[in-house]
Amino acid sequence: MAPAIELRGITKRFPGVIANEAVDLTVAEGEIHAICGENGAGKSTLMKILYGMQAADEGSMTVFGKEVHFASPNDAIDAGIGMVHQHFMLADQLTVLENVILGAEPMRSGGRIDFAAAKQHLVKVSEAYGLDVAPDELIEALEVGERQRVEIIKVLYRGARILILDEPTAVLVPQEVDELFRNLRELKEGGATILFIDHKLDEVLEIADTITVLRQGRSIATVKPADVTASDLAELMVGSELPTPETTESTVTDVVALAITGVTVTDEEDRTLVNDVSLRVHRGEVVGIAGVEGNGQSELVDAIVGTRAVASGTIFLLGDDVTRAPVRHRRELGLGYVPQDRQEEGMLLPAPLWENAMLGHQTRAPFAKGPWVDRAGARARTEEIRRSFDVRTPNVDVAAHALSGGNQQKLIVGREMTAGPTVFVAAHPTRGIDVGAQAAVWDAIRDARRLGLATLLISADLDELIGLSDTIVVMIRGKIVATLDPHDVTPRSLGSYMTGAAFESGATP
């Protein structure tokens, strides 16, 4: 039997970078094949080539034994390949049905869409694979896990036999990951071939039948999960041991650096987003906030940073009442901040790196000399960040959008850490960055913690939360519902706190 996909010698060059170099990949029909690698290892580029979004410079590609040349995703779809993107390709204000049938609409006469037939087919597909969705619901009303199901159905609706999933677990809580894996196994039962991109090694080992590791654009090895351990895989990926986020001894002092008392945040329509939250972060302490996304964490962070007004309550930064203080005042008091969306809030994408390195610190040395921008100082500092945080870039004058996501994130974290903050608010500081960079960020937080940094850490990576935090609080619907000692929790138990399941089953918070 011909393999579902066979890639030979795929090479793709971008100006100044080789994204893929002579990559070989063989995916057997009906298997779950995982592609692992650090950020910038070329996983995404390879998948884009496979899905017809980019063309390879060299190499050949066969699908079910037939040589193919994709000029657009249309060709890939015709060949039976479907892609579930990491950032969902869904229009929020359209219904599930509209999103699913888009591009493959069943027609009646006169250009009309046959919505009845479409719905029938949708229900048939979703029942066949046990994927539960409501066709007439708007996407914006759905949870993340449901949206992902819609994405998968969208691909199946088109009759795809090969599914590419790009880091599908990045946005899910553990319970949702279980559900996804159950769905994937059912799909496999149904005869589908699944290509699964991930860098969470335990997940890969759990779900994959075969694993291919990419490093620096090359395919390094193809292994069976039974033959390897997580650390073997990590070594293949980075050529070093798997770092863990464990902190050693407690360095918590009794100096309160960040004190939040009874903070309530509401939106324009007076809905409560953050409900009477009180928190204390001491110098040398890391407080982690766990919660399913959209439960008030980001609004709380906005309130602390000063980009959102609080309805009531107080915020003290090192003894100063900053409840109504402007953002710059707070930053000058030593507030470091890693925003959750690096491209929206963290960077100016068209601006050079050295300008990006100034953001938030533009009023202080080495970026400013009186009212003037100190270009030399800014460049020198950016070089320093580049070196110590391993930001991979030809120089500091390239525009930020030329960097991969991981390198952008390293620049942001580096920018905040090198400024010597006393209070550090980090929203998903390691999201979407590779294990090497992750370790660098963790090290930076740990080192700073030893020197008395107070950190508020918001993360969806539960291992990271448990490993780094001295205290973990759980937020549901804007309220802190539990305060936990990280030594007493596992990712799984923490996940059940986050979804509220822990309370329903009668466990005490």
Binding site: M53, Q54, S72, P73, N74, I77, M83, H85, M89, L90, A91, D92, Q93, L94, E98, N99, I101, L102, G103, A104, E105, M107, G110, G111, R112, I113, K154, E268, E269, D270
Partner: protein, 411 residues
């Protein structure tokens, strides 16, 4: 209240309209005028509302495909010139078609700039708005100056397409006329307003009105419409399903320009002016955009918005003693009380206070002044736009990707 919410949309809107007419009927009694519910008022409202409606629908096509079209005004200007030129040379119907073509040409320029070259939508739109009057003036100097009765700023009189009067209701048995003349409180007022809409109905007006359900059908029932809307909500989603986003955006913006051009041709038709005059669009392209916003990016909403904006014009037009305009002040005050109640029930304190204050000011003006200056009805549409934007912005759902630059392959 719940029973009311369960009524079908058309029934709810009919009830709203009836309530509105009732309000007008009562209020105009204080000022001893009948202009607020006269047949001629509703007729004028319809005529004045149509260019706004067409511009609004044009804006709808562009923005649903993700392109902000602030150039509607300029495209409308092109429509006026080409509409007049076509009607003079090839007859009234050809005038409409050429008006559409002229506007579509403006749309094409906007499309090339925004879609192919990634120019900021507002900047490109403003460029079209600057370009259009210059182009039409040049064309007038080349062509209209050679016509009998034409000059560099105007054309000779332009012929129009025909009218119909709805039989039975407004002619022959003239049922509505009978009710109107019977002079029964409220019912005669409803009949008068309705008869105005059914009498001497221009075929262009009829076409414009029919374009409302047609647009709704096209955008929400067809494949073309679904794909176009995706371009305005999440173009990357369309691209990932193999949809040629650029093509849909192009088509949408050209259609958008065509609608604006038709609006321009409507303005030069005898319905409104019967002549091409430089500067005669007077910002109605922008009011069309306001109707688009007020109508929450939906065709029926745009129609309501266009009529709402056309109504003060219709009332002011023949309001010689100013009594009707004076009454409109009280209508405004009462409507603002409604807004205040609405805002209060949603717990929006600032909005409630603001609405109460504005209502009080309008009421005070009504009580103090014997009559209002004639510019009041002229600016009222703009005041309505401001009030709507201030109080209802949060309820509006613009297409998510409208105005966002889109480049293929960056998903």
């Amino acid at each position: 209240m719940r029973r009311f919410a369960e009524l079908p949309a058309w029934a709810r809107w009919a009830l709203y309209a009836a309530l509105g007419v009732l309000l007008l009927t009562i209020v105009q009694g204080f000022d001893d005028t009948n202009r607020l519910t006269a047949a001629s008022s509703s007729q004028a409202m319809l005529r004045w509302g149509m260019p706004i409606l067409l511009a609004g629908l044009g804006g709808l096509f562009a923005e649903r495909a993700g392109i902000v079209n602030i150039g509607l005004e300029g495209m409308m200007i092109l429509g006026t010139w080409f509409g007049a030129w076509g009607a003079l040379n090839y007859g009234a119907w050809a005038g409409l078609l050429l008006g559409i073509a002229g506007g579509a040409l403006g749309g094409l320029i906007h499309a090339i700039a925004t879609i192919s070259f990634g120019v900021d939508h507002v900047i490109s739109g403003v460029a079209v708005n600057i370009l259009a009057p210059g182009a039409t003036r040049f064309l007038s100097s080349e062509i209209f100056t050679g016509y009998d009765g034409g000059s560099i700023t105007q054309s000779p009189r332009v012929p129009g397409v025909g009218h119909i009067t709805v039989p039975v209701l407004a002619s022959g048995p003239d049922l509505l006329g009978d009710v109107m003349r019977a002079d029964v409180f409220f019912f005669s007022d409803v009949a008068g307003l309705t008869r105005g809409l059914a009498t001497q109905l221009s075929l262009v007006t009829l076409i414009a009105l029919l374009l409302v359900p047609f647009t709704a059908w096209l955008l929400w029932r067809t494949r073309f419409g679904l794909r176009l809307r995706v371009c305005g909500e999440r173009p990357e989603a369309g691209e990932s399903q193999g949809i040629n986003v650029y093509r849909y955006k192009y088509v949408a913006v050209v259609i958008s320009g065509g609608f604006a051009g038709l609006a321009g041709a409507f303005i030069v038709s005898p319905e409104l002016s019967g002549i091409y005059l430089e500067g005669q669009t007077t910002g109605r392209g922008f009011i069309g955009l306001a109707a688009l916003i007020l109508g929450n990016w939906r065709p029926s909403g745009i129609l309501i918005g266009a009529l709402l904006f056309g109504y003060p014009f219709g009332v002011g037009l023949r309001d010689l003693d100013g009594a009707a305009s004076h009454s409109l002040l009280l209508v405004n005050a009462i409507a603002l009380v409604g807004v205040a109640v609405w805002a209060h029930r949603r717990g929006q304190r600032t909005s409630t206070i603001l609405a109460v204050v504005l209502s009080g000011l309008a009421a005070m003006w009504y009580l103090v002044a014997e009559e209002v200056p004639d510019w009041w009805t002229d600016i009222l549409p703009y005041v309505i736009v401001l009030v709507v934007l201030v109080f209802f912005t949060q309820r509006l759902r613009p297409p998510a990707a409208a105005g966002r630059p889109y480049r293929k392959g960056e998903a």
